[in-house]
């Protein structure tokens, strides 16, 4: 709570300080300025930058009745600055028809007094009492001047007046000439009311700045196309929610309103365009039509030979500045001149009605003492004469050059300084890098690039591995053959260990297991088929006799021990192990099947 009061106190102090610093101003207006008997108009007196102003004593004319007064305070913060205003809104009901003037009157605030002008208000009879045949919508063309010069700017306004009819906001403008007249684009001004033929009309004004491009007569007859709302389908009522509903669905398939396009043709207006007079046209005239001002700035004024001087020319005024050519400067042989350039406006705060031109010149030698007077001419359409503005001459101090003419010029358009050397603009030296690039010897052929073969080899190996993996998955015969060799190695090691230990039973059990697993995998046989006849059949026709003999003897020895209880000597076991090893080696070396 205490914090809130402190904040309020600070706000009060701030408001008071701001109000004390700012200059108060007072405005007076009446809206609408046309009304029918029985309607209410509002006289608004606005006091800016003054807190708690006194209530004004508004003089109410005879035909009005004061219905009340509503004070209204507004506070805005614009760009960090506080703006406050107090408005007194007097509600005046029109009692009688006629033309009235509300005011003028004097408004006093302490020791200061403000003289406020009177505002004229037209009051007509109540609707339907007069001229019932008056049109409901009218288009009207207005031009600020009936006679203009070529390229002279003038205001062209198209008014849409309507009463007793509801119009769509969208308005289409047509019928203006497509050539010979340049329009800057139409802008809608605040709506107002106007009395025409004793009727009060709502007025929408569309205004543009125009310029005629050629002499002669131009007939202007614009057409306004508006859409009148003639009815509503299934209207829900006149409450605000219905209005909101209708606005939301406007121009959609759910739009409930019925519209009709109405073409309003304005009465034609003839614009007379006169050519610019040839007589008295100065040489420095570059096409500007309209009142202009011209400022020239020369900087710097103390230079060394070869250093650039910038001449900045600013043209301001209500003229055709967009087509104005830069003035031609004849500075004589003492200067080297660059092309003149147009400077774009420097931000939103820059005035819109101005053109800035810049020219860089360089004195050739130290004998140069000044930049001669510069002239700019424009045509004044109000007086019908050419006017010439002259600035200068501009004195210079030019020092002789000490060495080759070179200087760094800071340019706003580039991040780096420019060097003007012998009249050529070069970018200035670059800053020393944090790390220097060193020269690298170039190697011929693959050279140091041999390392880049590595990914090729790696990809090749991966490819081989993938191929082997896929074959193992899809070719079980091949997979068993691969497995057979590994198993044989394993079994042979186990058999050697059993032989060393003299374990007869386990030796022959392992030998039998090794026999079965190896030969069934090696020749893709079922485990029960691993007998000499199937194995020899799988080996094919080219089998050596000693292999055949070893195979049969080894098989028989295994059977004898396993089923007949034979007890072979260690020498026999060793010989049978060698025979098995020899068979495995023979099978692995000979690519049988």
């Amino acid at each position: 709570m205490r914090t809130i009061w402190i904040r309020r106190a600070w706000l009060g102090v701030w408001l008071s300080a701001t109000a004390w610093c700012a200059e108060p101003s007072v405005e007076f207006d009446v809206q609408p300025r046309a009304a029918a008997v029985g309607e209410t108009v509002t006289a608004i007196l606005t006091v800016r930058e003054l807190p708690n102003p006194p209530v004004p004593d508004l003089p109410v004319p005879e035909g009005f009745q004061l219905m009340g007064m509503q004070p209204q305070q507004t506070v805005n913060i614009v760009n960090g600055a506080l703006q406050q205003a107090v408005s007194f809104r007097f509600l005046l009901r029109a009692e009688r028809e006629g033309r009235y003037t509300i005011g003028p009157f004097r408004y006093k605030i302490g020791s200061k007094s403000f003289d406020l002008p009177g505002v004229q208000v037209d009051i007509v009879a109540a609707s339907g009492a007069a001229t019932p045949t008056a049109a409901h919508a009218i288009a009207r063309l207005r031009i600020s001047k009936p006679t203009v010069y070529v390229h002279e700017q003038f205001q062209l306004a198209v008014d849409l007046l309507y009463r007793g009819v509801e119009l769509d906001r969208q308005v289409e403008l047509a019928g203006l000439p497509e050539s010979g007249l340049k329009l800057d684009g139409f802008m809608e001004l605040p709506a107002r009311r106007e009395v025409v033929d004793g009727q009060v009309y709502e007025v929408r004004v569309f205004q543009s700045t125009a310029r005629a491009l050629a002499s002669g007569e131009i007939t202007l007859e614009p057409i306004l196309r508006v859409r009148a709302i003639v009815g509503r389908r299934g209207r829900r009522g006149g409450d605000p929610w219905s209005e909101l509903f209708e606005n939301f669905f406007r121009d959609t398939p759910w739009d409930q309103t019925e519209r009709r396009v109405v073409e309003l043709r304005a009465a034609p207006v003839v614009l007379t365009v006169r050519p610019l007079p040839a007589e008295g046209r100065p040489e420095s005239f570059s096409g500007a039509v309209g009142a202009c001002t011209w400022d020239v700035d020369v900087h710097p004024t103390e230079v060394t030979v070869g250093e650039p001087i910038t001449i900045t020319m600013v043209i301001r005024g209500d003229a055709n500045l967009d087509v104005v050519q830069p003035p031609k400067l004849d500075l004589g042989p003492g200067f080297r001149t660059y092309d003149i350039r147009s400077v774009p406006p420097g931000g939103s705060s820059a005035p819109a009605r101005e053109r800035v031109f810049e020219q860089v010149v360089i004195p050739r030698d130290e004998t140069v003492r000044e930049i001669p007077a510069l002239s700019f001419s424009y045509f004044d359409p109000e007086q019908g004469v050419y006017r010439t503005l002259t600035r200068g001459p501009f004195p210079l101090v030019v020092r002789p050059a000490t060495n080759t003419a070179s200087v760094v010029v800071r340019s706003t358009g580039t991040s780096q300084g420019m060097v003007v050397t012998e009249g050529v603009e070069l970018r200035h030296l670059k800053a020393t890098p944090s790390q220097f690039r060193r020269a690298t010897p170039r190697t011929s052929g693959l050279g140091r690039h041999w390392v880049h073969v590595v990914p090729v080899l790696a990809a090749g190996l991966v490819g081989l591995w993938a191929r082997r993996r896929d074959r193992r998955l899809h070719d079980p015969v091949w997979a068993r053959r691969l497995r057979a060799a590994k198993r044989a190695q394993n079994i042979l090691q186990q058999l050697e260990r059993s032989l060393k230990r003299g374990e007869v039973g386990p030796f022959y059990e392992r030998l039998w297991k090794g026999w079965t697993e190896y030969f069934s995998d090696r020749f893709n046989l079922a485990e029960g088929e691993a007998d000499p006849s199937h194995i020899l059949a799988a080996m094919g026709p080219n089998v050596d006799d000693h292999v055949r003999q070893q195979l049969e003897e080894l098989y028989r020895a295994c059977l004898d021990v396993r089923f007949a209880g034979a007890q072979p000597s260690p020498e026999q076991m060793s010989a049978q192990l060698d025979a098995f090893r020899s068979l495995v080696r023979w099978c692995e070396q000979r690519r049988v099947r």
């Binding site: 000490t402 060495n403 080759t404 070179s406 760094v408 780096q416 060097v419 050397t421 012998e422 009249g423 050529v424 603009e425 070069l426 970018r427 200035h428 030296l429 670059k430 800053a431 020393t432 890098p433 790390q435 220097f436 690039r437 060193r438 020269a439 690298t440 690039h449 880049h452 990914p455 090729v456 790696a458 990809a459 991966v462 490819g463 591995w465 993938a466």
Partner: protein, 236 residues
């Protein structure tokens, strides 16, 4: 100012000091001494576009237009997208009304990257491409393999483009700059031969053939013989 032996190999700290000294000399309108310092840095093994650019400025300030173009062109080869280098190279060439080779659109595309960048990017694409080949071959998932083959295609295109760019830069190794004013290009390599055309100082030409003291050059579309001491190779 004590100038050191050009054979001296500066360490980076000393190189920075030399650069600053050269800048000071340049801004004091002593471009010849500044040029000498920059040239010593280059002779010591520094091949930096900033050094070449600054050397170009110093040479230009001392009126050596052709050698300034050599330095700017060399800087441009190392950093072809640098706007300052491009600007100064163009300004120097235009100042001397010199001839520079015209480029086709795809050659201008290659010249947006330096040879070193093209080489680095190309080899990177090469590695990525082969890695993607390995994935495409070794991976069992079909969607992954599909993506991998697309990467292979993209990397292959990049690698080919970069290889073409490197080849283009290699072809430009034959570039030379006319470093003497108004050199007559003749029909045959003889002093009294008929002059075909004249090359202003700073013109960039391509050396086609060398015969004794004469070289056959191509300047844009024309070919002629000029003396070999009138030109300087950009790549040194």
């Amino acid at each position: 100012m004590g100038l050191v032996d050009p054979a001296w190999a500066f360490d980076p700290t000393e190189a920075v000091q030399r650069m600053e000294e050269a800048r000071r000399l340049y801004e004091s309108h002593r471009p010849d001494e500044a040029s000498r310092l920059y040239e010593q840095l280059i002779a010591a093994g520094y091949d930096d576009p900033v050094i070449w650019f600054n050397l170009g400025n110093a040479r230009f300030q001392s009126g050596k237009l052709g050698r300034a173009v050599v330095a700017f062109r060399r800087a441009w080869r190392l950093a072809p997208r640098d706007p300052d280098i491009r600007h100064n190279l163009r300004a120097a060439i235009e100042h001397g009304s010199a001839v520079s080779p015209s480029r086709r659109w795809y050659e201008r595309g290659w010249e947006t990257v330096s040879a070193e960048e093209a080489s680095r990017w190309g080899w990177t694409a090469w590695w990525i491409g082969w890695a993607a080949v390995a994935v495409a071959l070794g991976w069992s998932s079909h969607p992954v393999r599909k993506v991998a083959w697309r990467v292979v295609l993209a990397a292959g295109l990049v690698a080919v483009w970069c290889a073409a760019a490197v080849a283009h830069w290699r072809a430009l190794d034959a570039e030379c700059v006319v470093v003497q004013p108004d050199q007559a290009a003749r029909f045959v390599p003889l002093p009294g031969a008929r002059v075909f055309f004249t090359l202003p100082e700073g013109s960039i030409v391509e050396v086609m053939e060398t015969r004794g003291e004469w070289v056959r050059i191509r300047a844009d579309t024309r070919e002629g013989w000029i003396r070999s001491d009138a030109i300087e190779r950009v790549t040194g």
